[in-house]
Amino acid sequence: MPTHAALYRQLYTIRRFEETLLEAFPSGAFYGTTHTYIGQEANAVGVLAHLQPGDIVFSNHRCHGHFLAYGGEPHGLFAELMGKATGVCAGLGGSQHLHWKDFYSNGVLGSTAPIAVGTALAEKEKGSPAICVLFLGDGAMGEGVVYESLNLAALWGAPVLFVVENNHIAQTTPTELALAGSLAARFAAFGIPVNELDSNDVDVIYAAAASEFAALRHTAAPRALILNTTRFGPHSKGDDTRDPALVASWRATRDPLTLQAARLEPAARQALESAVDAEIARAYAQAEADPLPSLPALTQAGRQ
């Protein structure tokens, strides 16, 4: 198991990355939009700590935390969000469309579900031990193709871990206005084993994910992990319609960083934070100085 410090470092890296992004956005440093992961960091860190080389991750519009926990570099992600040639996808994808190694993300909710199932089946067909982790939010659970995909995954034995991060709000629509019945029952209906947590503690999520990964690798059949979580920031930028007092109360009691920081010596924590602060600042400055893509990239991309 990773040390408390290693897990905290990842949580803190994601937090500082996202805070830097939100702070710099109004200055025009970034182009387009962004969906930050602040408050949900323990999910990505606790789950993706169990990846083996070759395992596949499919992420969604809120993908920065997943990407960084997967091992992606802050510099490449800053550069991508700035539209620089040095970005993860040379600026062509932007915030929601990343591909690096075996990590993929797309911005159309739920559309990734069958594709993730297909990647897992392909690896199984090739005799590879790789599995696939698919991150969905509660909002994506409104898309019909997700249920077609659950059916196929169960029917055809796709080694996919469906991770639903239920932050109880889809853009501005509270879950109770969008979801009938129970999320867990939706997986159970397809015979997919499901485990549900309500915690922002990376230790708790790590432990639950450990047994999911072990079972997934053993049975090579789909499983589901529902993570009830809290989004501290807006959906995108400045579109938070929730009571600020409610969000503040979560920050006070459920901040994954606070929960994990309590397990570290204060001095060690401060040293770690300073190191990450410097790393993020360096990554940002480097991305800022990087060149924009040249025009031919527009017509060359995808045509080889």
């Binding site: 596949i56 996808c89 040379a90 062509l92 994808g93 469309h97 990343l98 591909h99 993929y104 797309n106 159309v108 559309s111 990734t112 579900a113 069958p114 594709i115 993730a116 199932v117 297909g118 990647t119 897992a120 089946l121 392909a122 690896e123 067909e125 090739k126 019909g144 193709v145 077609e148 995909s149 059916n151 196929l152 029917l155 055809w156 990239a297 060359q300 991309a301 995808g302 045509r303 080889q304």
Partner: protein, 338 residues
């Protein structure tokens, strides 16, 4: 003689035999049924592990195939009816064709989606449409439509094995029983076959005919009707035309140019009549006419298109026939143009 259906089945079998990465996913594929139109017959017996007969979940099977393609396999999706392609539009437009470009060329998605299109079978409004025009112009998507002038199975085999980017493969369902034409059958015609960017283009004219005053262009099954019209125009109306039959509908040449074989034919005739089974407005023919106008300017003497009526295709035979372009429509329009 080999029928188009037999040729396509052979092409699929050849692709399966040649490359273990080829998979087929679709509904009702298992033998003895072998798919609703029987194109996939025999495959599930010969390659049981690589033919996945699926639930009625077009979007998901297309997405699954996309995932398989991302990870190095070469999946083929059979959509039972082209009308159901609307169910896969998100996968096609927002994932399959986007990934290579938005991921900066770091991935390829070699997937072939084959589907029967077209009417004249009495299947009514939701099982008779010609919908490929919805997907023409989607960047990154190759749209192919086989015809009887060259082996549709070989085209399919090449699409599966040689294309690293997504292909939408349109099989007109009335073509299935038609023979793939041989030299004997085509002996009245002088045929020029040119190689387009990926697929062949055929230019037909009657042997010994005077210089053409009209160019017909049609693909798929409409090329059959256009070929019949070509002969009747000559013998019944003394109008000498050429017929250009493309196999690739998209992408078209970059920069707005015409397919070279069509450009060459128009240089000779100055008049273009396009014939398609899709609806009239904003379609394949409209694009050809726009390009012809751009390429020829004032030397374009006449430009018309024939297409389906802009209404749902009726189930009743007489009205279905009236809704779709016929040989008589081609003859009438051609006579008005020359």
């Amino acid at each position: 003689m080999t029928s188009v259906l037999e040729a396509l089945t052979r092409g699929l079998h050849a692709a399966f035999a040649q490359d273990g990465r080829v998979y087929l996913i679709g509904e009702d594929l298992l033998d003895p049924y072998g798919g609703a139109f029987k194109v996939s017959r025999g495959l599930s017996s010969q390659y049981p592990g690589r033919v996945w007969s699926s639930p009625v979940s077009e979007a998901a099977i297309t997405g699954v195939a996309a995932g398989m393609a991302l990870r190095g396999l070469r999946p083929v999706v059979e959509l039972m009816f082209g009308d159901f392609s609307t169910l896969i539009a998100d996968q096609l437009i927002n994932s399959i064709t986007k990934f290579p470009a938005m991921f900066n060329g770091t991935v390829r998605v070699p997937i072939v989606i084959r589907t029967p299109m077209g009417g004249r079978r009495g299947y009514g409004p939701t099982h008779s449409q010609t919908l490929e025009k919805l997907y023409l112009g989607v960047p990154g998507l190759r749209v192919l439509a086989p015809n009887t002038l060259s082996d549709p199975g070989e085209l399919l085999r090449r699409a599966i094995l040689e294309q690293d980017d997504p292909v939408f493969f349109v099989e007109n369902k009335v073509l299935y029983p038609k023979p793939v034409l041989d030299a004997q059958t085509l002996q009245d015609f002088e045929i020029e076959q040119t190689q387009g960017e990926f697929a062949p283009v055929h230019t037909l004219r009657l042997k010994g005919a005077p210089p053409p005053t009209l160019t017909l262009s049609a693909y798929g099954y409409m090329a059959e009707l256009a070929r019949e019209a070509l002969t009747r125009l000559a013998f019944e109306h003394e109008i000498f035309a050429e017929l250009v039959v493309p196999t690739q509908l998209a992408p078209l040449p970059a920069g707005g140019g015409l397919e070279p074989a069509l450009a060459a034919a128009l240089q000779r005739s100055g008049r273009l009549l396009t014939i398609e089974e899709g609806t009239y407005s904003l379609g394949w023919g409209a694009e050809q006419l726009a390009r012809a106008s751009q390429a020829l300017g004032p030397r374009l003497l006449a430009a018309r298109r024939l297409a389906a009526h802009e209404a749902p295709i009726p189930a009743v035979r007489a009205l279905e026939e009236a809704a779709l372009p016929s040989v008589a429509d081609i003859l009438r329009t051609a006579r008005e143009m020359v």
